[in-house]
């Protein structure tokens, strides 16, 4: 039995469906991200787990027990809000100790655990500071400590890093990951930032319009997007039009390669720009004409036209010659680098 199981979870606002048929199993200690554009239902899902939004359909099982009927203040989950939602009239120590106080833990233990939590998030010596007098990053640490000090069964993070500047966000990302690993709390992160989701999570749940598009490890979802939506949402990608022959082979012009599951007729393949390579002389491939070339330091970004549609490709700045604008080159890619997109999912 998984630690947390969402079964057919659904929520509607009037006739608008916010979340529909969400199934997800999360193992103990796992870090799972709900990723998607705004309005995809990821925040609603988190709020249903937290208990702030009533569940319309489905079940939420934590260690086998259904949470749906449990009021939010009895669920014992740790939550970090986008705005941090710290209590401005309480000091850092009072903020962190609040949850312990509500649990009727005596003063001495409250103090030790508060100090431990502050040390964990790197806030030693800030006990008597008021949140207003702290930077965004520090406030975020207080919010994290406040959520973790109650030893929650689940840690829910609602876009916790979106209010920080880029540099701080990266720092906090690695720190968050390290803290989560060290205490082993099962964590669910809601984010619209693909880099954040890929950097932090064990698995990503990609959502769109209230439905799950794909669930998997970051590299698996990135490498094998299940739909055009996933392919385009997660990183840059090329969607190549080809023709299937019905026996498991797909051809793009003269270039033919085996793709498992490809049917007969038009098919679409998603290939990442960094996986398209220049074909060696005489090797099979398809021709493209380079239309622009942008130098980006570690690599070149090229755009090109082809019979399979416009595409982008990346060349590492490894000292090899780079095709010039207007030049026609032959490209190829390995069958394992292509993901077959579901038919009718054209975009």
């Amino acid at each position: 039995m998984s630690h947390l199981v969402l079964e057919g979870l659904g929520k509607s606002y009037g006739s608008a469906v916010a979340v529909e048929g969400l199934d997800l199993s999360v193992e103990r200690g796992e870090f799972v991200s709900l990723l998607g554009p705004s309005g995809c239902g990821k925040t609603t899902t988190l709020q249903m787990i937290a208990g702030f939004v009533p569940v319309d359909r489905g079940r939420i099982l934590l260690d086998g027990g259904d949470l749906v009927a449990v009021p939010p203040n009895k669920r014992g989950l740790g939550i970090v809000f986008q705005s941090y939602a710290l209590f401005p009239h309480m000091t850092v120590a009072q903020n962190i100790a609040f949850g312990l106080e509500m649990r009727g833990i005596d003063k001495a233990e409250r103090e030790t655990r508060t100090l431990e939590a502050m040390a964990l998030v790197g806030l030693k010596g800030f006990a008597d500071r008021y949140p207003r007098r702290m930077s965004g990053g520090q406030q975020q640490r207080v919010a994290l400590a406040r959520a973790l000090v109650i030893k929650p069964a689940l840690l829910l993070l609602d876009e916790p890093l979106s209010n920080l500047d880029a540099k701080l966000r990266e720092e906090m990302q690695s720190e968050l990951r390290q803290i989560q690993r060290s205490i082993g709390t099962t964590t669910i992160l809601v984010t619209h930032d693909q880099h954040e989701a890929m950097a932090l999570s064990d698995r990503i749940v990609l959502m769109n319009q209230g439905r799950v598009e794909q669930i998997g490890a970051p590299d698996a979802v990135y490498g094998k997007p299940a739909s055009a939506f996933v392919a385009s949402f997660l990183g840059k990608t090329n969607v190549l039009r080809g023709t299937g022959d019905g026996s498991g082979a797909v051809s793009i012009g003269a270039f033919s390669l085996p793709i498992a599951g490809a049917g007969a007729g038009p098919v679409q393949l998603a290939v990442r720009p960094e996986r398209l390579s220049l074909a060696a002389a005489g090797a099979s491939g398809f021709e493209v004409r380079v239309t622009s070339r942008v130098f980006q330091g570690a690599h070149w970004l090229l755009t090109a036209d082809s019979a399979a549609g416009p595409l982008i490709l990346m060349r590492h700045n490894d000292g090899q010659p780079v095709p010039a604008e207007g030049e026609t080159v032959t490209l190829s890619f390995a069958p394992s680098d292509a993901a077959l997109l579901a038919p009718g999912d054209a975009r």
Binding site: A50, G51, F81, P88, G99, A147, I150
Partner: protein
């Protein structure tokens, strides 16, 4: 040099007109009232411009005045307390309403302020009189035998003043509620706090500034209210402002009336500034 000087003078030129209006309409009349309160007065000699503490001595020694000031204070405190008791939950509910309903309810709350004081208070008199709607209704329902006395009682004055002044409390508290982080209740909830605890530990401390400013406005307006005590309290149930009015216009003892007005003003300033200091120190962190 010259230019720097004229630049420095600009703010004075710009604030000058408003300053003059303030000086002419507030400071000078007040100063004259204060001056007047130290003048002598006699039944046959009228106002005599010579310095005396007679008026203040009279007010402080005569229990008649003491009773009136005590009543004024009692009414103001009761009105402030009830405005807080009713207004704070009302503001909280208002804050959680959908925008459409909030608009309607806001109009109902501010309504009393849109009606003339006299018309509104006379309406109260009709409603609360011994043959008024409230008493007739209660008697018809068999709840009371004899009509309840609202008119010419402190209770009546307090009820009418609460109705008039509660919008100030609601609006002040609502303003501070709007500054609350919308997720703060959820945060407290997730940490295991019940509804009551959230109110007491999280929301209330943060809206103290709003309750304080609302309280000061309500207290000051209740203590210096004239129309409601005059119409509902009548001539016998005097408060400080109706007392000053009667001294000026009925007894024609202007210096004594001025002394009453000055004492009322001084007491109001002392009480509001004092309570402000006290509460600001107690809740220093929410006042930043």
């Amino acid at each position: 040099m010259n230019r720097a000087l004229s630049q420095r003078a600009t703010p004075y030129w710009l604030t000058g007109p408003a300053l003059l209006v303030f000086l002419g309409l507030v400071v000078i009349p007040l100063a004259m009232t204060v001056l007047l309160s130290f003048y002598d007065w006699g039944q046959y000699k009228g106002i005599v411009p010579e310095f005396t503490l007679k008026n203040f001595h009279e007010i402080f020694t005569d229990s008649y005045f003491f009773e009136i000031f005590l009543r004024t204070f009692r009414i103001a405190v009761l009105v402030t307390l009830f405005c807080m008791l009713i207004g704070v939950p009302e503001a909280y509910i208002l804050n959680r309403m959908s925008p459409a309903w909030r608009g309607i309810c806001l109009l109902a709350i501010i309504g009393p302020l849109l009606v003339s004081v006299v018309a509104r208070t006379l309406g109260w008199a009709l409603l609360l009189g011994s043959t008024g709607l409230v008493n007739q209704g209660l008697m018809a329902a068999g709840l009371i035998r004899a009509p309840l006395e609202f008119m010419f009682t402190e209770t009546g004055v307090v009820v009418a003043l609460i109705h008039v002044l509660i919008p100030f409390m609601i609006l002040a508290v609502w303003a501070s509620l709007q500054r609350l982080d919308p997720q703060i209740e959820n945060a407290a909830l997730s940490l295991g706090a019940g509804r009551l605890t959230i109110w007491r530990r999280v929301i209330l401390p943060q809206i103290v500034p709003g309750m304080l400013s609302g309280g000061i406005i309500v207290f000051a307006l209740a203590a210096s209210a004239f129309a409601s005590p005059a119409i509902i309290g009548g001539r016998r149930l005097k408060v400080a402002s109706t007392l000053a009015y009667d001294e000026f216009l009925n007894t024609l003892n202007w210096p004594l009336g001025a002394a009453v007005a000055v004492l009322l003003l001084a007491a109001l300033v002392a009480i509001t500034v004092g309570s402000n200091r006290l509460i600001e120190r107690r809740y220093a962190q929410v006042f930043e």
